[in-house]
């Protein structure tokens, strides 16, 4: 039996997609339970749920584009843009709710001065809390995270749709499932809350990427074996 190059591409793309998902999850503003009370920076839910929400939207746009194009860049970028728009809307709405509902201003709890806009942070922070809402730099970090996650998810979707020859629905649900298995490693690594790329927890990111690499390669092999069993990618 000969192994066709398409089968190898499945493993490569699933691995890249899974690792991008893990990396993107590290960049998101994850607030967890403290953010639900307005006492931590970020969106008020866990890493996997935020990433899942963004990637489902990204897969919607990627699936729409893949119905009339089989260009890998077009499909992947469509997924990335969909996920980015979703995460930006969520972050913006969180800010609106925090500012006009709770009466707190978006402010980071980990740095004294915003690394990008140089706006002072400590003066606006409520004492005993860990920041509020989604400040500028967190917004930018979250946007990049959503872009990477969406790109990774759509890349996996592309490989499953055009190389493994799954149908649209099957490819979407399988890409989503592999994505979740990678996002969970990021969630384990973050442990609660993170603000983005300057957060001290971001330095531990390479360790999660190694784990994500191995899990993604295994998942890619699973898909490859399934494709072979179904008739050699045809």
């Amino acid at each position: 039996m000969t192994i066709e190059p398409e089968l190898i591409w499945i493993v490569v793309y699933v691995t890249i997609g899974g690792m991008l998902g893990c990396l993107g999850a590290h960049l998101l503003p994850v607030g967890g339970a403290p953010a639900a009370m307005g006492t931590a920076t970020g969106i008020a839910t866990g890493t996997v749920q935020i990433m899942l929400g963004a990637v489902v939207t990204g897969l919607f746009t990627a699936a729409t584009v893949s119905s009339f194009s089989n260009n890998i860049w077009l499909v992947s970028l469509a997924g990335a843009v969909g996920a980015t728009i979703m995460i930006q809307v969520v972050m913006f709405m969180a800010n609106v709710l925090y500012a006009f509902g709770c009466g707190v201003v978006p402010v980071s709890g980990r740095v004294a001065v915003d690394p990008i806009t140089k706006a002072p942070q400590t003066a606006y922070k409520t004492p005993q809390t860990d920041g509020h809402g989604v400040p500028d730099v967190v917004f930018i970090s979250g946007t990049v995270g959503g872009f990477m996650g969406g790109f990774g998810g759509a890349l996996m979707y592309f490989a499953l749709l055009f190389y493994a020859n799954f149908m649209y629905g099957t490819a979407v649900i399988a890409a989503l499932s592999i994505f979740v298995a990678n996002a969970i490693l990021a969630a384990y690594n973050i442990r609660g809350t993170t603000e983005g790329y300057w957060d001290p927890k971001f330095k531990k990111m390479p360790k999660a990427l190694i784990g994500s690499f191995c899990v993604s390669v295994l998942a890619g092999i699973v898909v490859m074996l399934a494709t072979i069993a179904l008739g050699g990618g045809a």
């Binding site: 866990g46 996997v48 799954f166 629905g169 499932s177 969970i184 973050i190 899990v215 295994l218």
Partner: protein, 285 residues
């Protein structure tokens, strides 16, 4: 006088409260083995009526919820729902792989090939648990996390396979794709399976969490899932046993849901310190 009597009666009532009934005999290992074997056997016999498959599904979900409980017991950096969604994700990938291998090595109506997916998902869960727990990598240091994640992958795959088998009446990949994936039934399955896995521990966790009480919830949610799968089966008309099969499944689901819901509420009422009615929602003056 009357107040004192009332107080006395209340004290007596409170004293009677801490009474634990309904013991669940198998421990975690025994439950895993029993549920795994029963669910695997029912999975490979595809010609069975939907109700029997539903029984296997309930066993698989109880195992799933027990695995989530094991994983989340020590306090992770993420929410319990994430673990449940991950279990469903493992289940979908494993089910797809199992279905792809179903046509190998079948003897009549028996398809032992689907268990390849279960084994592979166990492997992925083990690797994932190893990297999460190892000192060199993420270093969560949770006792037996590897085993819990491995069991989660295996149980999730079995549960998803049984659900697919109920809806399509077979384990044919093309039939599954056209009837489950492309019709959108998978969306219900995905989120309700996740619910059955994470909701029990998410709802019951706390200092007074008791395993027997927590494990009533997955059975109850499986009842709800049976009702939805029954309607899907009725509309798709894929059952080899005619319309009686889905009708029986819906009745079975309703009975399971009612019985375990009332039982869970009664157990909670019995084991709590006191239940106090708060009346209507009050506003701050």
């Amino acid at each position: 006088m009357a107040a004192a009597e009332e107080k006395k009666a209340e004290e007596k009532k409170v004293e009677e409260k801490p009474k634990v009934e309904f013991k669940f005999p198998p421990n975690e290992t025994q439950l895993g083995i029993i549920a795994g074997i029963i669910a695997a056997l029912i999975t490979i016999f595809t010609g069975l009526p939907a109700v029997i498959k539903a029984v296997g599904m309930i066993f698989a979900f109880v195992w799933c919820a027990d695995s989530v409980r094991k994983t989340s017991k020590y306090g992770l950096g993420t929410g319990v729902p994430s673990i449940g969604v991950m279990g469903t994700g493992y289940g979908v990938v494993g089910a797809l792989m199992g279905l792809a291998f179903a046509r190998f090595g079948n003897i009549g109506q028996f398809y032992p090939g689907v268990l390849v997916g279960v084994v592979f998902m166990g492997l992925i869960g083990l690797v994932s648990g190893f990297f999460s727990n190892s000192e060199k990598y993420i270093a969560l240091k949770i006792p037996r996390l590897e085993r819990a994640m491995m069991e989660l992958g295996m149980a999730g795959t079995l549960a998803l396979l049984l659900e697919i088998s109920i809806v399509t009446g077979s384990l044919n990949f093309d039939a599954v794709v056209t009837r489950v994936m492309e019709t959108g039934v998978i969306a219900f399955m995905f989120i309700l399976s996740g619910m059955a896995m994470f909701h029990p521990y998410n709802a019951c966790l706390g200092p007074d969490e008791r395993r027997e009480r927590t494990l009533m919830v997955p059975v109850e949610i499986s009842g709800l899932l049976c009702i939805i799968l029954g309607f899907a089966l009725l509309i798709l008309g894929t059952s080899p046993w005619g319309p009686w099969d889905p009708a029986l499944l819906i009745v079975f689901g309703v009975v399971i849901w009612v019985v375990f819901y009332t039982r869970f509420i009664k157990t909670c009422m019995k084991e709590c310190y006191a239940t106090v009615g708060t009346g209507l929602i009050k506003t701050i003056e």
